[in-house]
Symmetry: D2
């Protein structure tokens, strides 16, 4: 995934199966560009919750400060997709993720992008160190960018 090279399945360390929904399709009959970002949120936060993130009560939360996506080939409901996740920067208070959306069980890439979280104190919204459980959950997904 150097430069503009398109990612392959092996570039991601974790996958989540994504079900498309009727409402994901826009008037052109394929999954709307916006919806891919909700897939990003879904696979990323699944890992964070697995590492101990408590979105309701936890004192540290992750805020998105940047995201981006390249759209390669259309997906559509009804279809299942695989969202691959890797971490390309694991800082003290921030994380850069890369996500690839593939057709289920296929090498065909639909879209790929990135997403940057800054972790903050829920009350003050000032940057805060990643909790250890979350850091550990993400460390296993760290790959060279």
């Amino acid at each position: 995934m150097r430069g503009d090279a398109r990612p392959a399945r092996a570039d991601y360390g974790r996958y989540l199966r994504i079900q498309t929904r009727w409402a994901d399709n826009d008037v052109y009959g394929h999954v709307n560009n916006v919806v891919y970002y909700s897939y990003f949120d879904t696979v990323i936060n699944r890992v964070l919750v697995g590492g101990g993130l408590d979105p309701i009560e936890g004192s540290v939360i992750g805020l998105c400060v940047e995201s981006g996506c390249q759209f390669v080939a259309p997906a559509r409901y009804p279809e299942e997709l695989d969202a691959g996740l890797r971490v390309t920067k694991l800082g003290r208070t921030s994380v850069r993720y890369e996500v690839g959306i593939f057709r289920a069980d296929e090498d065909a890439l639909c879209a790929y992008g990135h997403f940057v979280h800054v972790f903050v104190d829920r009350a003050t919204r000032r940057p805060a160190p990643l909790p250890e459980g979350i850091r550990a959950a993400l460390a296993g997904l760290l790959r060279e960018g």
Copy 2:
């Protein structure tokens, strides 16, 4: 499911596993009421597409004329759900579906509701008979309401 009686798993003839998404949760930390209706759309249209509905090119499409939902217990991301479907009226040009949303692999009911499709000619939007493939796909799900 007579009167206000809450439905049970055995009341539905077909199930679709539903993945919740990060964006399904609202500010109260559970799946927003609106989102359940997108689950309804998703399980219903999965069956229709299986019966030959072509949302992009087909000459007959199903338009929702009525829906409703009772919310019993909150669901939240990340969690998986099972959407059960049955048909309680299979008319010449319309269908009444009932959907139950349960926690995955559990009897616990989160919400249940109904949804009525009128099938119409795509161009004229006048009522049109259900295509045979769709009728056949739905007939197997017909239960007493």
Copy 3:
């Protein structure tokens, strides 16, 4: 609005202008049935916030226990709509709202429905009396059902 009679503009005491969005349209080129419920949520909570509801910190929140909608005529992006709101039951811990969606500045009705909130303590999720500010904001919208 007795029985199945369709509501008119004069049946609602408050209006909110609604902008449709690109993503509101589904593959059939009109606003998806699910999206109308997000219009309901939007007009209702606007009034509640005006009456003092604090969705983030407030100790009492409103949970939807039931909703329903009749779809009369399609709307589509780009178009503006007017969401009319009235209250038909104002109980100690619950409220029944009715919403009508009209084309902007026209009498033409697109959809109408109802929505029931039970107010609960945020922590215990047990029913709680409506806060006075909210009750006052809703009392002005009370009409015979």
Copy 4:
């Protein structure tokens, strides 16, 4: 808007008022990152439809091939926003837009990003020249990137 410089209101040639919705807020109580992209889609397509784009029947449609966003400050329901739009590249078959999301009637920037459309023939999905009406509508929004 050179390099990473944050855009100002004067950098955009057209504005659309955006209403936030209840469902725009995520569990952290502010507009979810994903939703900003639906604001992008909404302001961009408003201009395209004004220039003659027919999403339902038109022979040429715009497909998103790339988008990205920087999130500067949170917005939340209920609040209104202004989406500013400019065009920084107007090619034969593609357009690059830049969008800035500001608090309504204020200079305070919430988020800014870009969005690239490739125009294609609806049937073949091969690149197609921008229709003249659309080109004319966009030409007035062209600014140096």
